[in-house]
Symmetry: C2
Subunit: 188 residues, 2 copies
């Protein structure tokens, strides 16, 4: 996706340790016009796919997911990172965060992820793929079907994409970063 | 907003302790078409207001905020509930959560909330108004101007709206709940 790649090269910032900051347009301040273009591209890439629901994880996945759901006129569910006090009836799994070096739980209500659902997972980043693995676990627990996974940015050198594709998951990443070595952004 | 009020009466669920659950269409599973209609209504209500940025708080505020930012073609910033490890240069304030009975910090980068900004705050719920007060503190710390605050649902009996309006804030709530006594939803 040319527009996105150009924006990453222009406004993305690279830091030691393979960190790419895109917080001026994707995951802290967000550019809603770009988000809509991103959603259009997800719609295009998953055009031939049977989907009845979008799923994402709070918080940075919500903007691209709601835009994609809006275009496709499909409900959007976001998995929560803490079990809300007012919610029973949840599916839960544990995700290891590489960035934060700790485990956290994600959960989704059994009312909104069910047997028979064909879900498209949308998120901002694919790195080690741990959040994606958590979603796969929730989808399996629900007896639902994973139709595909769409990411705005994939960090190929962290191998989550390799794992998911080898596991047979349909993965679409709109910008693939091959390397951030020497704080230089190399996009495929 | 008639469509929203009807939806709350149809799909909202009331629980002991003044809890209104709208997690089938607003804050867990989301209806993107309704979110767009909500955003259109925010645009209409703040039509005469000088705004250059939308601000919200993760996670449930992001969907209505990104839709409003999309319609107005304005950047959207979401305040984060934990200081990210990769972020310096943050404005921070402490918010007391009535629902969870604990304090949490919210923060926003000084790069994205600045002197000269005229911000519209968008969120899903206005109850005690503690999150809104936190945002006011961040806006003041930044030397920015608060143009207004828009909420999908206001629980009038928890008096956050009263506090904000008395403090001179322009508040627009699309559905105002007068009472949830005896688990019966009374909308104004």
């Amino acid at each position: 996706m040319k527009l996105l790649k150009e924006r990453i090269m222009r406004d993305g910032k690279c830091f030691e340790g393979g960190i790419l900051k895109v917080d001026s347009f994707i995951n802290h301040q967000m550019d809603p016009i770009l988000m809509k273009s991103i959603a259009v591209e997800f719609v295009r890439r998953f055009a031939s796919t049977d989907i009845n629901k979008i799923i994402t994880i709070e918080a940075s996945g919500i903007a691209p997911a709601i835009m994609t759901g809006y275009l496709l006129e499909l409900p959007v569910v976001f998995a929560k990172k803490k079990k809300p006090v007012t919610m029973e009836n949840m599916l839960t799994t544990t995700v290891y965060s590489f960035t934060k070096n700790r485990n956290y739980d994600i959960c989704v209500s059994k009312d909104f992820l069910r047997k028979g659902d064909h879900v498209l997972f949308i998120d901002d980043f694919l790195a080690n793929g741990n959040a994606a693995k958590g979603i796969i676990d929730l989808v399996n627990q629900a007896g639902a079907t994973l139709a595909g996974m769409g990411f705005i940015i994939e960090k190929a050198f962290q191998h989550g994409g390799e794992y998911l594709r080898n596991a047979g998951v349909r993965v679409e990443s709109l910008a693939i970063i091959d390397s951030l070595d020497n704080c230089e952004i190399k996009i495929r």
